[in-house]
């Protein structure tokens, strides 16, 4: 089982959360704006503490309120693409990409596939919206994560770049057989990346 999740968390007046289990490969998270998709991803990444419940990814318990398990975010080995790029403004694109990497082994390959090889020596603030998004995807992949959490990773990308990025993600999913949770509003994207595992919040 990839994701085995049952959590809830009170934010302001509303309670967000979800309970689902999903099989190997990727799972798509679908739901209206404000329903709590980002919150759920943050809980799985370890950045938002659930009020109750448990989180288990690929058989590894990451959080369990009852058993007092709460793995620190840096030990969860998640590859997270945030809804906003969150690039480090004081590091070059290259050093952003390598921040979580063990070595520069696959930098060139991933940079080429995401069409950001020409941007490596630039500063984040000079990137266009789509360029920043691709760097954020690259950074999460280069970390060699155990699983991926992608919050609308392909928004603000044009057709070609979207296709390229989607192929990179698919390769990671298929070659490395990584569990993957993807938030998207695009049915076509959902279909292709999630197959039949679609969770509606």
């Amino acid at each position: 089982m990839s994701f085995d999740i049952d959590v809830s968390h009170r934010r302001g007046g509303v309670v967000v959360g979800a309970a689902f289990q999903s099989g190997a490969g990727s799972t798509v998270l679908f739901g209206p704006s404000g329903v709590g998709k980002t919150s759920l991803l943050m809980m799985i990444a370890g950045l938002l503490r659930p009020d109750r419940g448990r989180i288990c990814v690929a058989g590894r318990p990451l959080f369990d309120a009852d058993r007092r398990i709460n793995i620190a975010p840096e030990h969860r080995r998640a590859g997270v693409v945030f809804q906003d790029p969150r690039l480090f403004p004081h590091l070059s694109v290259r050093r952003n990409l390598l921040y979580g990497a063990d070595g520069p082994t696959t930098l060139a390959e991933i940079a080429t596939r995401l069409d950001i090889a020409h941007l490596l020596d630039r500063w984040p603030r000079t990137l266009s919206g789509g360029e920043a998004r691709r760097v954020a995807i690259g950074r999460a992949l280069l970390r060699k994560p155990d699983f991926l959490l992608l919050d609308e990773p392909l928004s603000s990308l044009d057709r070609t770049r979207r296709e390229e990025a989607m192929q990179v993600i698919e390769r990671v999913r298929d070659d490395m057989r990584l569990p993957m949770l993807i938030v998207t509003h695009d049915p076509e994207e959902a279909e292709r990346l999630g197959g039949d595992q679609i969770i509606r919040l």
Binding site: E74, R76, H90, G100, R125, A140
Partner: protein, 228 residues
Amino acid sequence: MTDELQAIVRLSLLIGGVATIGTLPIAFALAWLLARGRFPGKILLDGIVHLPLVVPPVVTGWLLLLAFAPTGPLGNLLERWFGVSILFRWTGAAVAAAIMALPLMVRAIRLSIEGVDQRLEQAARTLGAGPWRTFATITLPLALPGILAAAMLGFARSLGEFGATITFVSNVPGETQTLPLAIYAALQRPGGEAMVWKLAAISIMLSLVALIVSELLGRRQGRRLHVL
């Protein structure tokens, strides 16, 4: 510049430099606690840190004297454990300068830590960086302009420190007589104005150099962070 003047300048730089560099980590730790910590008595700590700013320097010097005198609690300890005394020594002058500079440095660093976007720190954590690496590679560099400003402020304040120094470690030429103390002595003599001007010009120049250096460093750092 005469030998005597050179010695005064060297001493001032030594004391200012040691005070600034020595205080920086302490100031940073305090600023961090005040910016990020949540603990009871936080406002009290904040208040204590600010004391050297409000209490007149002579009183601070006097309190230091009480504490570090051979019979005082700290002076007693230093004497027994290390067999040293900082009274009338340049080390004492550096302690006085450091204490006076501390509140300024803490404020500057605290403001810049509060300005660091914590979402970037979160991103670093998901990339495998523990709290320490996150701190060293994200928080610290992003707060760097403020830290530079703090160092510069602290250094300038140390160069100008007078009241606490003279009350605590007196005016010993070659040991505790910094530029301000030399200026004060000259100001006490009728007709000492020429000397005052000369010494004041030197201390102004020193701090302008420190200022320009910190400004240029800060700019280089700032260029990366800010949208032009």
